[in-house]
Amino acid sequence: MKRSRLRNAGFLVVSISAAAAAIALLVLAPWWLLLALVAVLALWMLSTRIGRQAWSVTEVGLATIPQRIGASSVIVVGIAGVVAVLVALLAMASGFELALRQGGTDDTAIVMRAGSQTEINSVLDHDSATLVTQEPQVLRDAAGVPVASPELVLVASLPKKSTGQDANVEIRGVGERAWSLRPNVTIINGRKFGPGLREMIVGKGAREQFAGLDLGSTLKLNGQTWTVVGEFDAQDAHNSELWADNDVVAETYRRGSGTAAVTVRLTGADAFDAFKAAIASDPRLKVDAKTTRAYYTDQSAGLSKLIRILGITIATIMAIGAVFGALNTMYAAVATRSREIATLRAIGFRALPVIVSVMLETMLLALLGGLLGAAVTWVLFNHYTVSTLGANFTQVVFAFQVSGAVLSTGIKWALAIGLIGGLFPALRAARLQVTAGLREV
């Protein structure tokens, strides 16, 4: 008795570590490896005697699922829930990251006052703003003018459509070269603002999230009336902003000739180091330069990391719950089939086909659950647009990105849950006493 308990404990330790290793492999493994494993399994089932036995036992198991549909749906729905929550949160993180990352490139640089981390904190005097555009690394257009835009970022409160409450929207005053600086910005409705006029164009995301930004509507900023004359799509974080002529914005907000930051197009991505060195060595300048890609990546890093950690923590706790649900279901399935399994063993089937069949059945149910959860999230949340408070204390509009990578992470989690949920019941089925099993009713 004592020896068998010791053996049981040893057996448990071995199987738990095997399960842990298998999960690590499953979650980390690339898809081609998983597909290769599936192919090997299929080949084994087709070509060897013991493999064919495994397949026929699995077939019987699968055929009896309709008889215990309630119990089996626990696995499917439980895992679908885990995968749906995981995929939704990961999609949120990657959507936020994508919105900000696309705002930056390696061959444009943003220059702000030394020490400032965001444009809203930065102030540059007119001389510094002009000096940095004179560096040789800054690209000049056909007319010999540097492709640079002195910009001013300010915040206004507007009511949000969803809540009716005021939220902060970013107003960006841009220079006349802003269009050649950001060729990805296209006007999708109306026209550009006229230079020197109190006209503005609104980003696609801002128009969706805030009330009163439709074409032709007017809004009051600092006592002056502005007209919305166009809508633009920049396919990045600028979509959350309102754009207007820098000089007019500065005048409205009494900012004089100062700007917040200057964005310049460099002659190439490799020119950035030289550009940074040049402005650092100029004693007249007290400024920092970053590539716009680095600037936007820094802004998104904190929040998207937080959402990812939260998503994985929540999904892990849910997964633990789902594993126990799956274990319950599969132990019950093995128990109801114990007579059948004992019969198979008695007529000469080995233990392996039994193990494989129980595992395979659980994994298939898990896969179904994973696909269901991923599909639900995809239908509900793909491109679902939300906004949150960004680094400039303003709303950043972004869409959930239910990408292939996110979906495949979800499916891998589902398979991992199925693996543990199936392994222990499978081992119990294999260790079933044949004589005792035959007596079961």
Binding site: G70, Q117, S157, K286, V386
Partner: protein, 387 residues
């Protein structure tokens, strides 16, 4: 109560299954405890009763724009105003941008308006007398192991000094404590002297970020707010005045609808849980049909059989749920100890427990309903015959 023994042994009839189910319930309520703690931290910041007699006045266009200091005497003169103070966001960075905490320059009388910030008179005097003095919340001091007398170097992100330098060095002269758990996050703020800030900064001198007004009678708050806004109506620096409570609520809501996200996750979790435990209970009752028939034979009435099964499912959920919530309490306390009390997680207190226990009862009843009805309706003859 006298049937507790019976319910208990029925529940553990199949040990493994019950333990697995308990663990699933535990996981669900652990998650509930953690998420509800985050949700109530955000809701607490928005709905706290503190600050209903304080008004916050910011620029109407955006709270990032400053207001002229000339408004101060004019607000003070308004009827119904008890005290006025002002402050400005500094946005300094300590060592690394990752160490973010709010830091503000505040006027000398700032702490008069915040009696719930517990600060000794000696520390108040020291703050008054030290030009570069700073007062921090206890949680923040604990996080960075600061003690009174330490020098705290801050790197300016917005306001350089007149010399152009970004370094501001402050002297820690006091620490304040907040006892209200809902306001605990305020303990992560650093305050320093307005006079030092305004004299030394390179630009913006003479402007303030926002005014805080304490009204004499909180029922007059709206009238006073309107009167403050009327002072600057149609000027180029129009203001927007709200109670501090409303201001905080509006700010928190800008992060997004935390309640909705938490609600959606919880719905997914509990839907799964109901299905899972419902299945367990159905199995348990199915197995025990002959036993239930025996109970009925020896005289248990239909309602008492119903009650027994319902009691079993409620007990199952209560047991797992209670352990889960206890665990959530331990985890929240551990996180708060590790990260500092400013983390947006409120302690798993009475209100979370109350909601949790309510949910446990509800889910227990939902899950037990069908199996219990089956137990109640079964006919002794059929059940004993195994039909």
């Amino acid at each position: 109560m006298k049937y507790l023994q019976l319910v208990w042994s029925a529940m553990f009839r199949r040990k493994t299954r019950t333990i697995f189910t308990l663990l699933s319930v535990l996981a669900a309520f652990l998650l509930f405890g953690l998420l509800d703690s985050v949700r109530s931290a955000f809701a607490g910041a928005a709905n706290s009763v503190a600050g209903v007699d304080r008004l916050v006045t910011v620029s109407k266009i955006s709270f990032t724009l400053s207001l002229p200091k000339s408004l101060l005497p004019r607000i003070q003169e308004l009827p119904g105003v008890a005290t006025v103070t002002y402050a400005n966001w500094f946005g300094g960075v300590y060592q690394d941008p990752k160490n973010f905490f709010p830091n503000e320059a505040v006027a000398d009388n700032f702490f008069d308006l915040y009696p719930e910030w517990q600060l000794s008179a000696a520390e108040r005097t020291a703050f008054h007398n030290t030009r570069t003095g700073a007062i921090v919340g206890e949680s923040l001091a604990k996080k960075f192991h600061w003690k009174i007398g330490d020098k705290i170097p801050l790197q300016a992100t917005i306001f350089p000094q007149k010399s152009g330098a970004n370094d501001w060095t402050l002297d820690l002269v006091g620490m304040f404590r907040v006892t209200d758990p809902k306001q605990k996050s305020r303990e992560s703020v650093l305050y320093f002297n307005w006079d030092y800030f305004d004299e030394a900064r390179a630009f913006g001198n003479g402007n303030v970020g926002w005014y805080v007004t304490r009204v004499a009678d909180r029922n007059q708050a709206q009238q006073v707010a309107d009167a403050v806004d009327a002072l600057s109506a149609n000027s180029d620096h129009e203001t927007k005045t709200q109670t501090e409570q409303a201001f905080n609520a509006a700010f928190v809501s800008q992060y997004g609808d935390i309640g909705l996200i938490v609600g959606a996750i919880m719905a997914a979790v509990f839907f799964t849980l109901i299905l899972l435990t419902g299945n367990t209970m159905a199995q348990a009752v199915r197995e025990r049909i002959p036993e239930l028939a025996v109970l009925k034979t020896i005289g248990f009435s239909n309602p008492s059989v119903l009650g027994l099964v319902l009691a079993e499912s409620v007990l199952l959920i209560l047991l797992g749920g209670t352990i889960g919530l206890l665990l959530a309490g331990v985890v929240v306390d551990a996180v708060r100890a590790a990260v500092g009390e400013a983390v947006p997680m409120s302690r798993v207190g009475a209100s979370i427990w109350l909601r949790g226990l309510g949910l446990m009862l509800l889910i227990g009843l939902i899950v037990g309903a069908l199996p219990a009805r089956r137990g109640m309706r079964l006919r002794i003859v059929d059940a004993l015959a195994g039909r």
